[in-house]
Amino acid sequence: MTTLTPADRVAPQAPPAPRKGRRGKARAGKHLHGGKFTYAVLIVFTVISLFPLVWTAIAASRDNHRLAQNPPPFWFGGNLFKNLEIAWTDANMGTALLNTAIVAGSITVGTVVFSTLAGFAFAKLRFRFKNILLLLVIGTMMVPPQLSVVPLYMMVAKLQWTDQLQAVILPTLVSAFGVFFMRQYLIGALPTELIEAARVDGASSMRIVWHVVFPAARPAMAVLGMLTFVMAWNDFFWPIIALTQNGSPTVQVALTGLGRGYIPDQSVIMAGALLGTLPLLAVFVLFGKQIVGGIMQGAVKG
């Protein structure tokens, strides 16, 4: 908090005739340029945010002997590919990555499709019990996953799904947040007249969903998809209960094995952590802007 005062002093006082925001919206503070102090703080914060990731790569490129010395290494060594290979084969990271891709992919597709359907119904259609059902959806967002984990485990055990990927996919296939997110988006983004016009033309509800709702919802579907993918990829609590390191683990479960001394070599552990993080980092480099936009959009509407 105290860091704010100097930044304010650096910023020019009394804005000269406020320009309109780029999109015609008046945006608070936007007309004020950040001063040197602002950049300095932000750069420090960026370094803190990125350093552990960079250091993961540095540690993964060294050998265990070097990591046991003081001071710790600050620059890359030559063992990266060797360590990645050991993590890939010995710790089964290859299989784990494939499993995680299947799990996160299925959950993403399911969540996006089901959320869009339900969100559309809640936003634009009329039916009995609509408000009660919507309240139920919002209420479920507050329920912690711990509360259902014991019976879920019993169900999975009874169905003999332990160590099978559907044990992780099915319970997470729908999301209350997703339904709410799509509803909020479609209320504004989908003109009711468009649906009525399609109905006058004799289109069935399924046709309307396919030809009107999905195209209108596409931007929000993309954002929800990316957020869901990140969440599903990183999910930890339920996978570690439902899956084991020796069965068909997700990356997170496999990493737990590494951390618990499954593999004693620190540099290999870091190589595994790197492997588990890289796919999402790639997603971030490609779609970072959209993910940022999605989180900010969800924040204002939620």
Partner: protein
Amino acid sequence: MSGTTSKSGTAAPLSEGGAAPRRVGGGSSGPVRSERRRRLYRWDLKWSPYAFVAPFFVFFLAFGLFPLLYTGWASLHQVELTAPNDMEWIGLRNFSRLMEDEFFWNALRNTLTIGVLSTVPQLLIALGIAHLLNYKLRGSMFFRVAILTPYATSVAAATLVFVMLFGRDIGMINWALGQVGFGPVDWENGKWTSQLAVSTIVVWRWTGYNALIYLAAMQAIPNDLYESAALDGATRWQQFVHVTIPSLRPTILFTVVVSTIGATQLFGEPLLFNRGGGASGGANHQFQTLGLYLYEQGWVNLHLGRASAIAWTMFLILLLIGAVNWLVGRRLRKSS
């Protein structure tokens, strides 16, 4: 998709009941066909909303609501992981034993302190960063993406890295402390130091995310508010305190609730911060959280009934926190 099944399921009985209009339509096929289409149209209008929300509720009932209630049922029984179908009714004994269990109270205290240690700095720093990001900046999108990157890092990967950074003899953090003259800190074994270290991981992963949420809310504040404040002679700091913070109140409350829920469920960080493995949260249970204690009772000690009781206790605590938040929020609204 389940949409088609539920539609055809409801279509059959209705078509029998809808025989009456056919007589009115007479013999010719044209009106009958259009009548049928009209009826189809009405069913479609009436039932497809249910078909659209059905998938969510089917999955929710099977994997959300049923387990939720069943947890309550199981918490009143003695159930072991080795034979989950043998349930012996013991009433509230799981709960009363929890109340007498020092490890439960220890876990509750730890959850509370780690929760405060992680949530308060996280939200304060996020507020500051959001304020800075709200200036007109070169490369503002770069900063936004960069500070959000930890959010893309999994609990497991992040904790493994921080375990190394917090190492006692060869960790980067102790090395840096040594450079400025502080002796090595035993991050894993001290009570406060280990809790601070676990909290650091949480703060690192979530501050950027919260900063973006604050930034979004800041950009929605109308400029006139700042202009009139400036006309009244308010400094930038006074504007921040008297315009920005009050406008952000609902958002702040929202992030407090969300982070509190997250803090109550803390699990992965303390599990993996314990290098020896196991769910004890350190040699002296010094950083065992409620989530970890639940896992230990259920999947290490195999007492599923007790684990269920812990789950319901956590839920009650969350409801309590929610109620307090709501009351505080109402107080704040009244006072403003």
